[in-house]
Subunit: 313 residues, 2 copies
């Protein structure tokens, strides 16, 4: 029997077929078409699952379950997607639609939560009893694993570290609040700080790399320039590291999991990012002379989404 994992994203939908040892033995994908009716979108996902299974010579009867990771929240009891802003889905009966085309047990969960589960089952935090994954992308996602299981909160609205307030009255956030952690620790935050920095530093390498156009500065521009020791970029990067260290310390002070894992696009900076955050976060931990969570980088990359989704049960 195989398990199917589906990773739903705003631009594409990835499907993976996993064997019983959790190896990916088949992959498929389709483009996201949010303009289609919801039922039609679900039908396309189910067809992609079936086609992917067929492509490796298996049949529908070989499928044990289908797990779906979405950039939003779902009610696993009812199989409803409660809110999934990027996909324009709200109170959408995913399971009910899906089983019309592929009648298997369907599990749905948040994408950061399923990635955290994947890292905890076969990735960097394998075997840890508790871990928190923080994904540093356009926004901040986070997934909490306690006793080896996803913790989304009692009402399913937890695990949103990115929208905890880290700066009272701070930067306005897309969620309607101010000062959310996401405004300081995401790729978007690096970009904002980089673009601000070049206003007074026209000689910065960041601007050179961006062809002189501040609007073309990306998180990568800032990080690469900091690696090359550009002073303005180094200052921005150092501020970012400070913010991220405080975010990590907040997780330690409040929840203290066995391990904290950094994933998402920004984490591709590797040790250049990890080392200074590792060095700094303990300063912000109240019991800083005690053993505390280890901090490491996610290792499953883009596969975490499909692998974690397939593990849902």
């Amino acid at each position: 029997m195989v398990r199917i994992g589906v990773d739903v994203g705003g631009t594409g939908i990835q499907v993976g077929v996993l064997d019983e040892q959790l190896n990916i033995i088949g992959r498929g994908s389709i483009e996201t078409h949010t303009e289609l009716p919801f039922g039609e979108q679900v039908r396309r996902i189910a067809e992609c699952c079936k086609n992917t299974v067929a492509s490796i010579g298996l049949q529908e009867k070989d499928i044990a379950s289908v797990g779906v990771g979405i950039p939003g929240i779902a009610d696993d009891k009812t199989g409803m997607i409660i809110k999934c802003t990027n996909m324009f889905w709200k109170d959408a009966p995913f399971r009910k639609e899906f089983v019309k085309y592929l009648n298997k047990p369907i599990y749905i969960d948040n994408d950061a939560s399923v990635a955290a589960l994947a890292e905890n089952m076969i990735g960097i935090s394998k075997g840890r009893s508790s871990s928190v994954l923080i994904t540093l992308g356009t926004g901040i996602g986070s997934g909490i694993i306690l006793d080896g299981k996803i913790w989304n909160g009692f009402h399913g609205i937890g695990g949103e570290l990115g929208h905890t307030i880290m700066m009272i009255g701070g930067e306005p956030c897309t969620c309607g609040n101010r000062g959310c952690l996401e405004r300081y620790c995401s790729a978007t935050a690096i970009i904002r700080m980089g673009r601000e920095a070049v206003k007074n530093r026209p000689n910065s390498l960041m601007l050179e790399k961006a062809g002189g156009d501040p609007a073309k500065i990306t998180a990568r521009t800032v990080i690469d320039s900091a690696r090359e020791k550009d002073p303005a970029a180094s200052e921005v990067f150092s501020r970012y590291v400070g913010y991220l260290a405080q975010a990590v310390a907040n997780v330690v002070n409040f929840l203290d999991p066995e391990m904290i894992v950094l994933g998402g696009g920004v984490s591709k900076a590797g040790m250049f990012l990890l080392q200074p955050v590792r060095d700094e976060f303990p300063e912000h931990v109240i019991f800083r002379d005690r053993p505390m969570p280890s901090l490491d980088l996610a290792i499953l990359g883009d596969e975490a989404g499909i692998v974690g989704a397939a593990m849902l049960s």
Copy 2:
């Protein structure tokens, strides 16, 4: 058989004897004397336990266990108190000393955690599968209950909501960091804001209640003046409510327990505090149109410490 609960505080130590229905059937107390050698302090606590049991006509053999709540952290496996700043205890072998005088199973935990356990077992959050207690005192304590049990984190350093950072670069904290939640949500924060406010508002009722001396303004002065609609006090109180609402929302966004409970001295303001916080915190929750944790006041008062400690096992 009875269980003994001990609540260790910087000024006094309370002892309670609980029957099997968790009723307090005997009480005792001693003054704290931090100047005594550690072993002597522990001996006095053990004697107080024995005397309290004797005072209700019971004997040592009737004692099933002794639980101790401390304003610090302990390692329940070894029975060591790791750090307890107010008592000047560090790496102190509490269990080893205690059993010299009273040889019973000894359990030790953080005072906010045991209070959270008490509320969750017989108080306002009775029967809730998960809850977080936030105690609003000189500092901020917090206790996390998950699946009916205390969650102190993997390394025992979690549950310190008061030292999560809510204001990057903000007010300096006693812990050595800046912008800790405690600096904005504790009684100390209300006092600081009240004293600042009267500088430019010499006609404030706060100053009148304090006999003209800003140093005599307490949290109660501010709250009572706000109740009487003093404009300066109302502004301070309203700012405080806003900070506390954001702190509550941080707990919702990250952990989403079934219930959040406010305790400690400031919570004695009752509905005057609870209602505006209840009204405001959902604005700061990302999934604010979904069911979310209920917010209520602790009901066990000072007894929570001994009751929760007695429940440790």
